[in-house]
Amino acid sequence: MTAISHTAASLDDAGEPRARIASWGTLLAAPYALYLVLVLLVPLGIVTVYSFFTYSTTGVALPVLTLRNYAQLADPYFLRLIGRTAGIALKTTAICVVLGYPLAYALARAKGALASLGFFLLLTPLMVSPVVRALGWYVLLDRNGLVNTVLVACGAGRQQLLFSEPAVLVGLSHLLLPFMVLPLVASIERIPPSLEEAARNLGASPLGVFRKVILPLSLPGLISGAVLVYVESASAYVLPALLGGRFVRMIGNEVYDALLVSYNVPQAAMLTVALVVVTIGILGASMALARRAIAVGRASR
């Protein structure tokens, strides 16, 4: 009898004694919830607290509250660093949108073996370590690399490609393109092909079909992909360390060095908090802009 009532309870909660249902669900969810509190929330809390502590040359930090760490942000060096990081993240997102849309559309409409192959060739690089993929670009963009060989053959001459912003942009877009494509595919798959056909029959050009049908209906996928790509690229540090070197430093490189090289824990903590705040701020602003643009677009139609 109790077993049957449990089944019923789990399927719909109508007319069940709440306490018993609650205890089972809570029991199963508790281990992971507890884990997240201990391994995610407490460490994040510690970082936030450290960001207000005073720098100490001898220990981790002096437990004396100060705003001095945050005052460093007014320094032109840090302002440039934040500007460069936000700029690289925005450009990477734009590149991923441009490359991701055609690819996502092709994958969403592909069938059978071609679709399997397409997903295989997208997912395998995604799961290979970022270091390996950065190394690939390192070899390609090297002074004697393939890209330079082609440039010389074309008469453009040998170029210094590594350790530049374009190198970082290429590497980051390569790293994050699947994060844009996968949510887009999920969105585009749900658009019935008959809708496109109808638009075409009514005289829309391929570009018109994209603008009037695909783009508005895949907007949720576009937004979630863009957010992922932006957040990931804004907080990148392994890739800029390898392809940007000393010349294209991002906030992540500064955090890493402050924590593991110069042992300035309060500064590292302040920079991670600043990174999150700036990221959320820019995301919020772009969302508001996008919403406005959509509203204007609707009104003018």
């Binding site: 077993a3 884990y35 994040l44 395998t124 799961m127 390996v132 990221t279």
Partner: protein, 261 residues
Amino acid sequence: MSRGRAVFGSAIVLIYGFILLPLVVIVGVSFNAGSLFDFPPKGLSLRWYDALFAQSSFLHAFLDVSVTVGVATALAATLLGGLAAIALVRFRFPGRGFLEAFFLTPLVVPHILLGAALYLYFARLGLSASLTTLVISHVLIATPYVVRNVAAGLVGLDPAIEEAAVNLGASRLRAFLRVALPQIRYSVVSSLVFAFIVSFSDINVALFVSGPDTTTLPVYLFSQVQWQSDPSIAAASTVQIVLVALVVAGLQKTFRARIGM
């Protein structure tokens, strides 16, 4: 119209070229007979693989650390995340809506922040870098994928079959284990595999929480790229690429369809 299709088709081929080129180059360089990163390779040889497998630091990073931590992470994350997914899909309890969002938060916190936070946390607790701290950190970034995967599998089940088992006298737990679990076995297997790969390829968090004796394969590669550059790094990278490609192909064959995250 067909010209438009041709343009679109070549654009797709070019984008795939962009995606695959770095990996193709790495694999090519690893078979290079010369001692530089020549691509196309100047003659084929396996000398860099010989050099690689003669290095105990590589074997240690690959087998003793990365594979071990990956397997432990896969098991722990699938257990934690699987139970959490069952709770979310099968039960109604106070705070369920909040937990549904909370359980996915590690996905949206930048990894540099997680790495820095865990580094300071373990230092604060007096824990030095070990396989355990690596597993604890990797479970954090792998479990959200498990929750999503298992929950998606459970949502698609027809509850009537399980109910029938219960009506025929099976206990609630037995009905779940014998009826529901076999039906979601693919979700469970893919969760194990995903969690393994998340751990196996992670560099962002591992750089902060791995120590001198617990260097993972990606961390090993990272330091090799910075300090010593010969094609044996490409050989080590190729080992990673081949392993991941086999796993992805295996998953696809099992599902006969698309897998996504």
